[in-house]
Each structure stands twice: as C-alpha cells, then as structure tokens.
Symmetry: C2
Subunit: 228 residues, 2 copies
C-alpha cells in the first residue's frame, strides 16, 4: 500500500486561538495548542507513514521534534500563508515519496483517532473530506493528485468539494462528529471536556480547574473555572 503522509500546518504558538482570550491566558493557549498537537500525533501515528508539521515558528518546530515527527520550515509568502504553506508541503511530499497519499489536518482537532484514519484506508477514493463546524474543513485526503489546490479559509468545505469536482476526483464526504470538533471557543472546550476524557487536552484543561456543565440558553454548555 502507498504511504499516507499527514501534513499539519501550524501558524504559531503565540497570538493564536484569540477567541479563547481572555478565557485562557496567552501561555495557557500555547499549552493548549501543544496538548492538542500531542493528542493528534498520539491518535494517528500508528496508522500513518509520517507526520509533517509545517510552520514558520521555530518554537512549533522544536516542539514537533519532541513528538518525534518531521518538520518543515515554512517559506515566507506575501499572502494566503496557510494555503501556500500546504502547497509547499505537498510539493515536498511529491519530491520525497513515490505516489504517497496525502492527509491534511488542522492542529486543533484532538478528538481525531485511529478509526478515523482506518476509514481513509478502507475507502478507495481520490478525495475524502470532513466538515468542521461553521463550514470549514477538518480533514482533507488526496490520493496522489498533487495538483489539487487547497482553499482553506471561509466556508472552505464547499470550495474544496467544488475543486475536487472540477478535477474529476472520486469524492467521499466523511461524516464525522469527532473530526468536526475543532477548538476555537469556550463551547468547543466544553465538547472536548465531554467527549475527550482520554486526551492530553482534557488533562491540561482539568489541571486549570476548567469544567463544563449543562446550560439552558443560547449556548449549550457553560464552561468555567471552578474555585479550588
């Protein structure tokens, strides 16, 4: 079977996840990001041939090395940093592996696990995609069609499907709740606290005394810090 190479772009540990500020301090958000990356790597590493983190932040690359995964230094791009970083990473895979299949994942989906990767291997598609909440893309699998153009950003799920149709790819929409949970808001932390009790991210949030309870209002979950 051809290799499955996972690409995880990470912008930077600092100034990230700003929608969780002031709920979490900057240092806490950085530790949250590290916990989530660790969960993703532990969740999928047995099932994929290699994991490559691409980032312009030396601290991210150093942290990736502690997880014993590969790193790529992101080149400077004038604009559309995320998609250009992914294009560079796809080029790197094309040049270094023969006919590898590519999986692109965001760095904030700590509930992804072994069985999600098994699904990709068990389905013989050119293109597999999973939605995130809010119209985004949380999993993008390309079976060696390296000219596929990543279009991450606003409502990317639909743009990605259209691009795959334009390329005449055989499309599979992988309908997964756990993959859809990316962590950007206190509500998302609540979902993680409910469904991710096995994760490093859960342990980290618990160490901050962050808990979740049911709420009857516009938001479903009340996520707050307990007094010690």
């Amino acid at each position: 079977m051809n290799k499955l190479i996972t690409i995880i772009p990470v912008s930077s540990f600092n100034n990230s996840k700003t929608r969780l500020s002031p709920f979490l301090t900057e240092d806490e958000r950085k530790q949250l990001l590290q916990s989530m990356l660790k969960d993703i790597v532990e969740g999928i590493k047995e099932e994929v041939s290699e994991i490559i983190i691409i980032s312009k932040d030396p601290e991210v690359l150093s942290y990736a090395k502690t997880l014993e995964i590969s790193t790529l230094l992101e080149e400077k791009h004038e604009r559309d940093h995320l998609n250009n970083a992914i294009i560079d990473a796809i080029k790197y895979v094309k040049e270094n592996y023969e006919d590898a299949k590519i999986l692109i994942l965001p760095s904030d989906i700590p509930l992804i696990e072994k069985k999600n990767i098994d699904y990709l291997e068990n389905n013989n598609n050119d293109f597999i995609i999973s939605p995130s909440k809010g119209g985004g893309t949380n999993l993008l699998y390309i079976n060696n069609q390296y000219d596929y153009k990543p279009l991450f950003g606003e409502f990317s799920f639909f743009k990605h499907v259209t691009e795959a149709k334009n390329k005449k790819m055989n499309i599979n929409i992988y309908d997964s709740f756990y993959v859809s949970i990316d962590i950007n808001t206190p509500q998302d932390l609540g979902e993680l606290l409910l469904h991710g009790t096995h994760t490093n991210t859960y342990n980290y949030l618990s160490s901050l005394n962050i808990v979740v309870e049911n709420k009857h209002g516009q938001e479903r979950l009340n996520v707050y810090r307990k007094d010690e």
Copy 2:
C-alpha cells in the same frame, strides 16, 4: 430482516424552540418544526418499516398524518414527560410488532438521511448511539432489548452509554456530524443553511430571507435576515 420502527417524540408545535425566539416568531418556529419533521420523514422513510410520532399536541398528530406516518397520543405523565412518552412508545412497539428493532430520533435533525439508516442495518449491534452537540443524544437504536431505559435530558449521551453497558449490550458509537446537528440556536440554523441546501427546512428559511455568512468572533456564523 426484523422490522425497524422509528419513534419520534414531539412535545408540541407551540412554545417550542424558544432559543430561536426572538429570531423567529412563534408561527415561524412552528413552520420550522414542520419543515424539519418533513425532512426527517423524507430522509428515512424508504429505509425504515414505520415511523411513529408520539405527542400530546393534536396539531402535531394531525400534521404527522399529512406526512402519511403513524401517530400515538401521548398519555399524561406527572413528570419526565419525554422519557415516559418514549417508554410508552416502546411498549406499543413491543405489543404490536414481533422482535422489531427500535430507532429513537429527535424531531430537529433535518440533515439525517438514508445512509445514516443504512449504517444501522449494516452493523449488527444491540445498541447504536450518536452524540448531539452539547452532550445530548440524537440517535438511539435498540435491537429489541425493550427494557432499555431512555434517559434523555442533560448530558444524556453518556447516561445512555452507561445504561447500555449496565444492560451488557454490544455498543456502537456512531460518529456522525450531520446527525449531531440539531436545530436550537441561530448558529444551528447557520449549519443547516450551509449543509442542508437540499432540505425543506432550507427552503423555508430561505423564504424568510434568512442567510448565513462567515464571522470572526465567539460565534462562527452570522445568521440574519436580509432586507428584501
């Protein structure tokens, strides 16, 4: 193959979906509920043997008849109306069908479709459950173990799994994003507008000029009424 009977409890058309008020008027919320029920019925009717709506609201039961599905008048219960209504419906199924399998669905998951039901039939489990956002349960399948006790309410997903473990049932957690989308808040309407362009509910919301756009803030989606 044994029959698969679907039970959909509906409390009432009036005074429901209050988290969507004042975004939608009471009459609009009632029409939204009708659209969602129609989507569920159209989405699954070919795949199940029968669909039974249980409600105490005569208007709900009349509407169900226009969809050509079965109805049960909900008995009065002092407390825990929802779970007691479901217990009554399970009893009805037990008395009227031999060894039927039971599927319990909420009335507000218009993105459910044929393939979700196919999944149940293709997996030979005693118990299949799907999470909703916020720790709830959006799909509960019981393979003729009629003493299973429904525990809908706060964080019911986890209570339901525990109950199935206690009953020594063979458990399958069915990880579905589309099943997880129940419609309670404007954010949920946004998800429906994005992913449900094929639904009656989408057409109804569009007739009200309700649209969705991307948002960068605590909420992912901005859902609003366009000026005509």
